[in-house]
């Protein structure tokens, strides 16, 4: 009887996360010589975005890859550091954290909640889109910007002068189309797969924030696995992580090209000065959120990125 690992996620099988999960399934079963049977449930088939963490804690599923923003409400607000605008200069800075000691330290904070963190999977850096040009912070005055629930993102939009609007991801397309909200922020691949470029006239390649996931398992389940099985799974996870991150980066680049080619959205490349203004307006959010996230955590991340 192989050990069953139910791996549930909320996106389609052909997204970077979906492909990463499939890769892990393949590698895990190979490296453990069939001692485990990984069953991937995509598309929130079993558990929705809002309930999957509880389902993991109850032991209804063994493995998840939720977005990092989910850990704040769980009681580990340190993870909100990933939402801070302009905290990572580029992928190298990001990976210095997610593949280094700081990343491991953060995952360790989940142990209290009955969760073991295994790896970070990238989605990508977010760009800002709206139905009017959003080139300077001044352009945001009065814009209703959709965000996912997060105090940090709320502060970010407030700093820009916009009106933050919390809305479920599934409602965003319709809301952008009718104009209930004016704009939003997304990595290019999300924007493209949700066809948001059809309903957004302008976008600025701001790369102002990061969107990523953590692959997590039920701690009790994980600790109960035989040593050799766990070693095999660790190896499979390390390879699946590199694979998933590689696809994510490539898909974001391809999505951006595809949207430019579609021509429904005008993409603005930031100049150095423009970027400097955004950084100036947005970095005060780091201090504003320091009490929430923990000044030490922010400092540790900044130290790791050399920023």
């Amino acid at each position: 009887e192989p050990i069953v690992i139910k791996f549930s996620h909320v996106v389609a099988p052909d997204t970077p996360k979906g492909k990463g999960a499939a890769k892990f399934e393949e590698l895990a079963e190979a490296y453990t010589n069939g001692a485990v049977d990984v069953q991937v449930y995509p598309n929130s088939q079993l558990y929705k975005d809002k309930e999957e963490l509880e389902a993991l804690q109850l032991g209804a599923v063994q493995m998840l890859a939720p977005s990092l923003a989910k850990f704040g409400p769980l009681g580990v607000q340190d993870f909100e550091v990933f939402d801070l605008p302009y905290i990572f200069k580029d992928y190298d800075a990001l990976h210095a954290v997610t593949k280094g000691e700081v990343g491991k330290m953060l995952l360790g904070k989940l142990e209290d909640k009955g969760i073991t963190g295994l790896a970070y999977w990238d989605n990508g850096f977010k760009i800002m889109s709206a139905n009017s040009p959003v080139i300077t912070p001044d352009d945001f005055l009065g814009l209703k910007m959709r965000i996912q629930s997060s105090k940090v993102l709320e502060a970010e939009m407030n700093a820009l002068g916009a009106v933050p609007q919390v809305m479920a991801f599934s409602e965003v397309y319709q809301a952008l189309q009718t104009g209930v909200v004016d704009g939003t922020e997304n990595p290019p691949s999300n924007m493209y797969t949700q066809k948001m470029n059809e309903v957004q006239k302008h976008a600025t390649i701001s790369n102002h924030g990061y969107l990523g996931y953590a692959v997590i398992v039920n701690k009790q389940f994980w600790d109960g696995l035989p040593e050799d099985v766990r070693a095999g799974l660790d190896k499979a996870m390390a390879e699946a992580t590199d694979y998933a991150n590689g696809i994510a980066k490539a898909e974001n680049e391809a999505a951006l090209e595809a949207m430019k080619a579609a021509g429904t959205t005008e993409f603005h490349e930031m100049t150095e000065e423009e970027r400097a203004t955004w950084v100036e307006v947005l970095t005060p959010v780091h201090d504003e959120m320091a009490d929430r996230i923990g000044a030490e955590t922010i400092a540790a991340v900044k130290a790791a990125t050399g920023g």
Binding site: E51, A55, L58, S170, Q174, Q177, T178
Partner: protein, 440 residues
């Protein structure tokens, strides 16, 4: 195998007459507990998260708005307006009843509510004027069904909720998104007006054939007065549809706005309702909403069980492999839904059947919006025929006619609706024309 056990258990429990929500819940509990390793605590989690969605909240808001309108004199003024416009044609008051039902349907999300609101005012008036009771009952029972086809519509919200987030591949392998509440509302406009036209035609034709009374033609002054008095109710149509379309609010917000608007019109403009009546309206709205939300939570639980056992996928696989074409599938769906309409009310049918049928429909290349409208029209027909036809029972209460007698009375209009159902089923453009025009 598990599908047989699940459905066998569900049907057995339902036939004992216990509430449908309870039969759904007990089926899930029994199956999960005896046949799976799913931690049973998950059920408690699902019972909360099952309705934790902003889209669903449109239901209580629309029910509240509908109750304010029904109690607040809006229906009466809409009838006066419709009578002033078409009362002098063949069919007179009957025709006005169809129009008034269509107008009221555009502000209310429920069919029985439409039958009550319009029927309880217009039916006695028709009898007094010399129409046979059967004629009036037939008109109102069927026209009231427009309540769920012309937006807003609680059944459309249910369909959107039951299929939301399902990502199913179409015939070419591309993922097809489920229909949103906004799209369905826009898609309901053209079929709704069309069905109103069909029912009006049947009414006019039979009234002419049997020489039923007509009213004197209202002069321009009278029409203007009737319009001015009805304007507050009519404006709500603009608030809901216009508000959603222009992006002032989402469908759920539109529902909340219309509840507040209807409250103000009922209490402060028409003054047909006193402030002290408000808590009673709130209580009865909460009662009805809670019942529907309770069915939703248990239906969500049930579709979790279905997904866990892979039943919709297996069914889809089987149907596609059997070489089923889309039009045969739609016949089967129509028969299945009409049969279900003999035993259950629309919300339960949609919540249980939609998640199972939707993946198959999409794989066969049927548009999710078109499929939703077809289901809604099916539900309308089901509400007008026995043994379980909510509209029929409401009309029976108003007219004091027996169900058998009423069933005979509604047949010309029911036949009209069946013809219309065929049209909607096989001419997707009727449903899709407006949403496509609006770029949805």
């Amino acid at each position: 195998m598990s599908a047989l056990i699940i459905f066998g258990l569900l049907i057995a429990l339902m036939l004992t007459g216990m509430p449908i929500s309870i039969s759904l819940g007990l089926t899930v509990l029994t199956f999960l507990f005896t046949m799976t390793e799913v931690p049973i605590d998950t059920v408690a989690l699902k019972l909360f998260t099952g309705i934790e969605k902003f889209e669903i909240m449109a239901i209580p808001f629309f029910i509240l708005a509908g109750n304010f309108l029904t109690h607040g004199g809006v229906a009466k003024r809409m009838i006066n307006f419709a009578t002033a416009m078409v009362g002098h044609w063949h069919g007179g008051l009957g025709l006005a009843g169809v129009i008034a039902c269509a107008l009221f349907a555009a502000v209310s999300g429920s069919s029985p509510a439409t039958v009550v609101a319009i029927g309880s005012v217009i039916l006695p008036a028709m009898v007094a004027q010399g129409f046979p009771k059967q004629f009036g009952a037939g008109v109102i029972t069927t026209s009231g069904a427009l309540g769920i086809l012309i937006p807003p519509s609680i059944v459309m919200v249910m369909y959107a909720v039951a299929t939301s987030g399902m990502q199913v591949p179409g015939p070419d392998g591309q993922i097809v998104d489920s229909a949103s509440v906004g799209e369905l509302f826009m898609a309901g406009v053209v079929p709704g007006l069309m069905l109103a036209g069909f029912l009006a035609f049947t009414t006019w034709y039979r009234a002419r054939k049997f020489g039923y009374p007509r009213l004197a033609k209202a002069n321009f002054g009278a029409r203007w007065t009737a319009f001015r008095e009805a304007i507050w109710g009519l404006l709500l149509i603009v608030v809901v549809i216009g508000g959603i379309y222009t992006g002032i609010f989402t469908p759920t917000e539109a529902a909340a706005m219309s509840a507040v608007y209807a409250f103000i019109v009922a209490v402060f403009v028409y003054k047909d309702m006193k402030l002290k009546d408000v808590p009673r309206v709130l209580l009865s709205s909460a009662n009805m909403s809670a019942m529907l939300l309770y069915i939703i939570t248990n239906a969500v639980l049930f579709s979790f069980l279905m997904a866990h056992e892979g039943i919709p996928q297996a069914l889809g696989e089987w149907m596609v492999n059997a070489g089923l074409s889309w039009w045969v599938f739609l016949i089967i769906v129509n028969i299945l839904l009409l049969a279900a309409g003999n035993f259950m009310e629309p919300s339960s049918i949609v919540l249980i059947m939609a998640p199972i049928l939707f993946p198959v429909a999409v794989r066969l290349g049927i548009d999710p919006v078109h499929f939703g409208i077809m289901i809604v029209v099916n539900m309308e027909v089901g509400m007008c025929h026995p043994p379980v036809g909510l509209n029929l029972y409401v009309a029976s209460g108003i007219t004091r006619m027996g169900i058998t007698e009423l069933t005979v009375a509604v047949w010309p209009w029911l036949l009209t609706m069946l013809v219309f159902l065929l049209l909607v089923t096989y001419v997707p453009a009727i449903s899709l024309f407006l949403p496509h025009l609006l770029g949805m």
